[in-house]
Amino acid sequence: MKYEVVIGLEIHAELSTESKVFCGCATTFGAEPNTNVCPVCLGMPGALPVLNKKAVEYIVRAGLALNCEIANYSKMDRKNYFYPDLPKAYQISQFDLPFCKAGYLDIEVDGLMRRIGITRIHLEEDAGKLVHTPGGTLVDYNRSSMPLIEIVSEPDMRSAKEAVEYAKAIRNILLYAKVSNCKMQEGVLRFDANVSVRPKGSQTYGTRTEIKNLSSFKMLQKAIDYEYQRQVSMVEKGEEIHQQTLRWNETGNCIIALRSKEDAHDYRYFPDPDLLPVILSDEFIEDVKHKMPQMPDEKKKMYIEEFQLSEYDAQVLTANSELCAFYEEILQDYDEPKTAANWVNVELMALLNQNDMLVEELAFSAGNMAQLLKNIQSGKISGKMGKGVLSEMFETGKSPEEIISAKGLSQISDTAELEKIIDKVLAENPASVADYQAGKEKAIGFLVGQVMKATKGAANPQSVNEILREKLKK
């Protein structure tokens, strides 16, 4: 029998607000343990939460970017459970009235468009972090009360690849919407995957399991593949699948059961009486919409219509928000969008792919890249030289100016200087001059070659050709 996997994702993304969601503490990453804390995020008696308006603006922005309905009335609830990283012994989250619901995201997988439903997006606070040491377990509350959004999808994905593509697309949207920096290595983006299997063609869902806290696309892919195989082999053996919470073990490349349905927490959700219901006026929502950064679809349209880019170039540039930002930064100093797109998508991409690197890991800035393109535009160096300079920038991080002057690169376009060299070449090659003047057109090719050799390739071949013909007429 053929089986189909059914996947739903819960994506937790930390918002990039400057302060935490219910207090004024800084959200800077990597601070000394327990330095970004105050009575509120430490859960001290008597301290009260105050909702961060920016966080509300950001979640509304994320909701709009993901085609959600924005609730005019929502509220914050308490999710009660005991754990040492949770100082109040409850997490402020949202239960039945989240800020955003009923959205979707279109993704392309293997050339096919797929629409993934988004059930809801809610706002919540993060917990602290346990640090296990030989002397005992310590708690760092810097992360306590950091603003998080949880994006819950419908069970609309049918392969691990689709789930990964969806997760990547969500990351891209959040980056474009400028609501999260989405730094995977800092744990800013985390995934929970709900996985079930069913015979292909079946309309009912199988029993699902939930794999918690996956922190990279690779882990997401591996964990879903593993769980799919595990469930299929269980079904084939006639075993029953139990609703469970699981954890992916990266070192063992396997799945570990955390708890079964019977041990599931009873979170005793109820409205947080310390916070008022949040009423968002239509004006507020409109205002957020109005101030929304440009989303990839809009950018793509603009690139094609205004910059005259090909559909392909526009697609490649907008599919990756960091690449897109890099491209637009080049255009701040350089005014030929088509040429810039070509250099980014062909030359720069080739270097990145060969080295398996991301654009944000580049050693040089977009400003450097613009400088390089300007040198080519002005004819100071040739396009061919430019490629060499780019790969050196890539390796050393040096500015194009440094590389060009250190190497003595410059396309000799100063006619007087070029004429001197050409005169010398003509004097040294009387035979070729005679051949050309006798009607052998080919001879000019040899002479151009000699000039280029004499200038170490720094002359503009076009100008050399023109000057030669002019001189040989005489």
Binding site: A89, Y90, R268
Partner: protein, 289 residues
């Protein structure tokens, strides 16, 4: 420390209404670190006015009937005094008197169970080390809380549990809305609602109750203000035969503190119960002027 956040309210305990007004003018100011505090401008003390001619006072007679004899007598006398001062009495009949105590104890216990959860021995207060983290929680909380607090935590945890939530907590929230609506309607016909503060006077100190929840029943009149979010005042209106003081409760509509204070002020300008001290004696008390 928060007990039941949606019901908790601070209030001044003062010698007379003028002092109340002075303190209230300060404590009503907005606290930007408390999302539930409102931004309003007040000057209650300077606007105190003993002319309460034409004020409509709502009274639900069943509440007075339910009280003990001494309380009843004192409250009825107070009503006569207010009539003398030009007030009209409006008859009210609430259908929520029976559920008031239950609503209050369900909501307050639910919130308390969550508010007090942070006292788990991890980063605030006492800790009794256990074998493991769960054991530490259990030992710390078993040792640290008193009987009555534990009882409220258990009630609160129970009413929020899945399977009981709808029957208790959710029902209590629905009843809370109903009570609020009843008061909204009542304040269309009156400016202030009057009742005894308690159904009977204070127990003797140190007395042991047969059922720990019996004491909850004396709270019939006071939770209304917390549940419906209304300003209320309790002012002395007499003494029982055993010398125990009797309180008169006045409640006004939301943000109508000035009306409430004016009525109480007028009453105190024309009575002297607030100037008398109960005289405490063994096995009862006598009051003196």
């Amino acid at each position: 420390m928060a007990f039941a956040s949606s019901l908790d309210q601070v209030g001044p305990l003062t010698k007379d209404i003028r002092d109340t007004a002075i303190v209230l003018d300060e404590i009503v100011k907005q606290d930007v670190k408390d999302s539930t505090s409102a931004k309003i401008k007040t000057n209650y003390a300077d606007n105190l006015n003993e002319d309460i001619q034409g004020m409509r006072i709502g009274v639900d007679a069943t509440l007075i009937e339910a009280s003990d004899e001494d309380t009843k007598k004192a409250v009825l006398t107070a009503i006569e005094k207010l009539k003398e001062l030009g007030c009209t009495i409006i008859d009210l009949s609430f259908n929520h008197n029976e559920i008031m105590v239950a609503v209050y104890y369900i909501i307050s216990s639910a919130e308390a169970s969550s508010n007090l959860a942070r006292f788990d021995g991890i980063n605030y207060g006492v800790r009794i080390e256990g074998e493991n983290i769960i054991d530490t929680y259990v030992k710390t909380r078993s040792w640290g809380f008193g009987e009555e607090v534990k009882r409220r935590i258990m009630i609160g945890t129970f009413v929020l549990s899945s399977g009981y939530y709808d029957a208790y907590y959710k029902k209590a929230l629905q009843d809370r809305s109903l009570i609020k609506n009843n008061f909204d309607k009542a304040f269309e016909t009156c400016d202030c609602i009057l009742s005894p503060t308690t159904i009977f006077t204070a127990y003797d100190a140190g007395i042991k109750l047969e059922h720990p929840t019996d004491a909850y029943l004396s709270d019939v009149f006071t939770p209304a203000a917390n549940i419906a979010g209304l300003p209320a005042a309790s002012i002395p209106c007499g003494f029982a035969k055993n010398g125990m003081p009797i309180g008169l409760q006045l409640m006004a509509n939301s943000y109508q503190e000035q009306t409430l204070l004016n009525i109480a002020y007028a009453y105190q300008q024309n009575t002297d119960f607030h100037l008398q001290r109960p005289k405490l004696t063994k096995g009862g008390s006598q009051h003196e002027v």
